[in-house]
């Protein structure tokens, strides 16, 4: 299975730089689990980071910093549980959810649609969406950016067809009408929407937030 739709490069670079907020970092990290090509891009960007680290002007530490660190070398290593998934949930997502994708509690939005709210911070919301094959999500536009990663199944809209691992970037000018078109499995997406906060426009922003835009 080949991933055909990728995050834009600046997003991958921001991810490598540690500059993304938690929800964007999660959707990108989850895409990376599907996509060797983008992993390579991120690895390259990390190398840039390593290079910059090597040439950065050092900031001296306190005189006793080395001694204090040396004193901790023999301390027992804290156990770090590496998440394990029983249903191939990508590990970054598994770590975030604290459970497998097949174990999350879905909320019905209609006979064929369900969702799980994940985060809502600073105008950015992240949620899981699930649509049965044939589900017509309805034509809609966006107030901010909408990033969608297909985790299972697939969907098609005016911009193309998306399968597992595919990453869609919908800018505010895109109006689309995604239809779940997986053969026999539900289409499950991880979606992040952004709507920059503007305090002078409180009502508009709340409206947008209530509708997840």
């Amino acid at each position: 299975m080949t991933v055909r739709h990728h995050p834009e490069e600046d997003l991958l670079l921001a991810h490598a730089a540690g500059a993304l907020d938690e929800s964007m970092a999660l959707i990108v990290a989850t895409h990376l689990c599907f996509c060797a090509q983008c992993r390579a891009t991120v690895a390259l960007a990390e190398k840039v980071g390593g290079t910059l680290l090597d040439v950065i002007a050092p900031a001296p530490l306190a005189p006793d910093a080395l001694a204090r660190t040396l004193a901790q070398l023999d301390a027992p290593m804290p156990e770090q549980a590496r998440p394990v998934s029983n249903d191939n949930t990508p590990l970054p997502l598994r770590r975030f959810l604290g459970r497998d994708l097949s174990q999350v509690g879905w909320r019905k939005m209609g006979p064929k649609l369900a969702y799980v709210p994940l985060t809502r911070r600073g105008g950015v919301s992240m949620r899981l969406l699930r649509g049965a094959p044939g589900t017509d999500v309805g034509r809609h536009g966006h107030k901010g950016m909408e990033y969608t990663l297909v985790l299972a199944g697939g969907f098609t809209d005016v911009t193309g067809s998306y399968g597992p691992g595919d990453f869609q970037t919908a800018s505010p000018d895109l109006r689309h009408n995604p239809i779940a078109d997986g053969d026999d499995s539900d289409c499950i997406n991880l979606a992040v929407t952004t709507a920059p906060l503007r305090f002078e426009s409180v009502v508009q922003k709340i409206v947008g937030k209530l509708f997840g835009f």
């Binding site: 390593g50 050092p58 306190a62 910093a65 660190t69 070398l73 709210p117 809502r120 999500v137 409180v202």
Partner: protein, 206 residues
């Protein structure tokens, strides 16, 4: 390394050409890789000290540029060096240099630190269910926005206050409760009441 440390200036905003030259004159990058291997294979403390002398001040400098306080940058730099000691066996020079590896370690430590500070433990049940616009909604967004705007403007003041603080203060409900001097349960119940009202006003039940 001593001469190098003595030449250290305060960190600027961008690496400058002299820094590159200085790097070339000091330690070649592959010797850093070699030192990490010595730590992995022999638990070589002298190698670790050399790595610390090279990387810890750079990590601190990097973290400070990201806006981390000098104090916390120093702590995170030491934590990164401790991780180097513990995870040295996982280092694969075929994949990335020691510098790149340390960069990713420090980057991740900072992300974790920011999250620990900025994010309270999340309970998805605390989130207001979000209505997705879909074909089954049966009303246009224009109508619903007007209805919602009206519903918001007529919320009881105590509910409107909590709604605003919840959406725009980036503060956890517990902090809002503390600042308003009311119980957490009151904050939550006001929010639920407000949201029930707003959803009801738009005919989007439940």
């Amino acid at each position: 390394m001593m001469a190098h440390a003595a030449s250290v200036a305060k960190p600027g905003f961008f690496p400058r050409p002299p820094a590159v030259v200085r790097l070339r004159m000091t330690r070649p990058a592959d010797s850093m890789d070699q030192l990490v291997r010595q730590v992995a294979e022999r638990r070589d403390r002298a190698a670790f000290e050399a790595l610390f002398a090279h990387f810890a001040p750079r990590l601190k400098s990097y973290l400070m540029r990201l806006g981390v306080t000098p104090q916390q940058a120093e702590e995170l730099a030491q934590e990164a060096m401790l991780l180097l000691w513990r995870k040295a066996a996982l280092f694969d020079p075929a994949k990335a240099s020691a510098a790149t590896w340390m960069f990713t370690i420090a980057r991740n430590l900072r992300i974790d630190a920011v999250r620990r500070e900025s994010r309270p433990p999340l309970d998805p049940a605390d989130f207001v269910p979000e209505a997705e616009e879909n074909a089954e909604d049966g009303f246009s967004r224009g109508q619903s926005e007007v209805a919602l705007r009206h519903a918001l403007s007529t919320l009881p003041p105590d509910q409107a206050q909590i709604v605003n603080l919840s959406f725009f203060s980036s503060k956890p409900h517990s902090q809002i409760a503390t600042e308003l001097g009311i119980p957490l349960g009151t904050v939550k119940s006001r929010l639920r009441l407000a949201m029930t009202r707003l959803r009801g006003a738009m005919g989007d039940m439940p």
